[in-house]
């Protein structure tokens, strides 16, 4: 391997690593706020990428049916609860968000000819379609179990992952898709060709991380999410409801996931089940950060990207084996540095 190749591999590694870092942040956020280890994080990557690809080739994305169906399910559950417990004032909101909003998205897709839209509009439409699935999934799968042990929530997360992968296959078939790059530009930097999409990915990731930072540090709701993550009971006593915090964190996770999908769709072919492995690599990063530290998780994720990139050069068949076996020394390291004291309840 000469320097040229090493740098190319580094570029690859950092590009993927930036995506893993975004996912790692989402995973840390969701775990801290809801205690859900969000295995389906990667599915949002695939759903985002495949939805965009469908819109670009003029197919109706299957995720639309999922949005409509999930909307109806949430509306039914919420309406039943509102009627039982006397929350009639909430009825218009429930209908607006779960029935009318998905209908509007459907109308946009059928009436506005997405194939002729500019790419930024296609991306916005994709996000408008995929992101609301996050809070809807929270409502249907996790909200009824908000007080359950982490282990039960994890099993539910795995079940959601399984259902979403099956639905992905149903909606998009077994063939993969690739979308056109955001820009065809490439730059020559000291003999290394850096292509435009890499810059897009890295740039967008950094921007998104900065926005998240500002959200958590400067806004009322961002601080409320942090408060929930630090002390759930304390947050509830302030009137920050667990449900609101859960939905908000799932919304952010879905946004991060779908956006990641949109960003990498021009770089790699995305299949219905690609998201899972991508998400898990974010996980390895998140675990490096102990599912608690955002910066360490992001750094860990970049490391995973680099490791993956170099091992695909040295032993491409064993790329996944190497990346996922890395978690073992990481866990050993964590087990030596974490002093787990059983908390008094």
């Amino acid at each position: 391997m000469d320097l040229q190749i090493a740098l190319l591999l580094a570029q690859d590694g950092i590009t993927n690593g930036a995506i893993y870092a975004l996912l790692a942040l989402a995973l840390v956020l969701v775990f801290a706020v809801t205690r859900v280890i969000f295995i389906p994080q990667g599915e949002f990557v695939a759903l985002g990428a495949l939805t965009l690809a469908s819109l670009q080739v003029g197919k109706t994305p299957g995720t639309l049916w999922l949005l409509l169906g999930a909307g109806v399910a949430v509306a039914l559950v919420d309406l039943a609860q509102a009627l039982q417990r006397g929350g009639r004032r909430r009825i218009p909101r429930i209908i607006a968000w779960n029935l009318i909003y998905p209908a509007l998205v459907a109308a946009a897709i059928f009436l506005l000819k997405p194939t002729e839209m500019a790419m930024p509009l296609q991306i916005i439409l994709t996000l408008a379609l995929v992101v609301p699935l996050g809070p809807m999934i929270y409502r249907l799968a996790f909200q009824p179990l908000a007080e359950a042990p982490v282990l039960v929530l994890l099993i539910v997360a795995v079940a959601v992952h399984l259902a979403l992968v099956g639905l992905g296959l149903l909606f998009f078939g077994a063939e993969g898709s690739r979308t056109p790059a955001f820009s065809d530009a490439s730059f020559n930097l000291g003999g290394i060709v850096i292509n435009g999409q890499t810059l897009w990915v890295v740039g967008s990731s950094i921007t998104l991380i900065a926005i998240l930072y500002l959200f958590f540090e400067r806004t009322f709701y961002g601080k409320a999410l942090r408060a929930t993550a630090i002390n759930r009971t304390g947050a509830r006593l302030m009137g920050i409801s667990t449900v609101m915090a859960g939905k908000l964190s799932f919304l952010l996770a879905a946004l991060i996931g779908a956006l990641s999908g949109v960003l990498i769709a021009p770089i790699t072919t995305i299949y219905y089940d690609t998201g899972f492995l991508v998400g898990l690599k974010g996980f390895v990063g998140a675990i490096v950060g102990g599912l608690a530290s955002y910066p360490v998780a992001a750094a860990g994720a970049i490391l995973v990207g680099l490791l993956e990139s170099y091992s695909s050069f040295w032993a491409s068949a064993f790329k996944e084996v190497i990346v996922f076996t890395l978690i073992i020394p990481v866990l050993v390291w964590r087990s030596l540095t974490t002093h787990h004291v059983e908390e008094e309840e």
């Binding site: 006397g86 601080k223 408060a227 002390n231 009971t233 304390g234 006593l237 009137g239 920050i240």
Partner: protein
């Protein structure tokens, strides 16, 4: 009865169970507007459970609660906070890695959500009550001393401008000087019109500031009455105010305290 003022909180026949074990049996309790009412009793008597059920942190197995004269068929913490009830739990439940100012800000979360934007003034008022918090405003809550934490917990609850404050063992583990400070604030809050339901192990101090008191034992209200009467009740003196025989003598020495 000193219960002539309009009740702000009425609890009737409240029962709470953990699994098969009932921790609170048929408790009745009332807090009048602007009153301080205290609940005393030994560890494990169900005092914290009672507060949890009133606030909506714990599900009740039966019983009725009226707050501000309205029945509360479905109690959710969020709703009770919005209506003007605040709880300072025994654990304080602070946001340790956030600053003192941000902790206070979170206290105003519900008001902010309901459209009130008066938290800067409220925070100023809290700083006047607890000047120490102003000094420490940019410090992380986790680095505060025990007394400062308690001040922050009470201050944070005040940010919501509550009509009724539930305090769970505010003097727990605090040095006498700080306990005094806390009780001074409790008395001041009463002056400002906040009703308080106070749970205390320091029964003497509690009965001194309170208007009315209840004694809870193994999940049941066994005694109630105006605080002054309770402080003189031989059974209360024996069980909660002193160390058996010697304390009886001691407490008769310090009798004027209760008046």
């Amino acid at each position: 009865m000193e219960h002539e003022s309009k009740p702000i909180l009425e609890v009737a026949d409240l029962c709470v169970s953990y699994g098969k074990v009932e921790a609170l049996h048929h408790a009745n309790l009332m807090v009048g507007a602007g009153q301080i009412v205290t609940v005393i009793g030994p560890n494990g008597a169900g005092k914290t459970t009672m507060l949890g059920a009133i606030m909506g942190l714990l599900p009740r197995s039966r019983g009725h609660i009226r707050f501000l004269g309205e029945p509360q068929p479905e109690i959710e913490v969020e709703r009770m906070v919005a209506k003007g009830m605040g709880l300072v739990p025994e654990s304080r439940a602070l946001f340790g890695s956030m600053t003192v100012a941000d902790n206070l800000l979170m206290g105003a979360f519900m008001r902010h959500r309901l459209g009130h934007r008066d938290h800067p003034e409220t925070m100023e008022r809290v700083f006047q009550i607890f000047p120490r918090l102003r000094e420490r405003r940019e410090q992380q809550a986790g680095t505060l001393s025990g007394g400062e934490r308690q001040m922050l917990a009470v201050g944070r609850a005040l940010m919501a401008k509550p009509k009724l404050l539930l305090l769970d063992e505010p003097s727990l583990g605090l040095a006498p000087l700080i306990v005094k400070e806390i009780f001074r604030v409790i008395a001041d809050l009463k002056q400002a019109g906040v009703a308080i339901l106070l749970i205390e192990q320091n029964a003497r101090a509690a009965l001194q500031v309170a208007d009315y008191g209840y004694v809870l034992e193994t999940g049941e209200v066994v005694l109630e009455g105006p605080a002054g009467q309770l402080a003189d009740d031989p059974k209360v003196i024996e069980s909660y105010l002193g160390l058996g025989g010697a304390a009886r003598a001691a407490s008769s020495r310090s009798q004027p305290v209760a008046s």
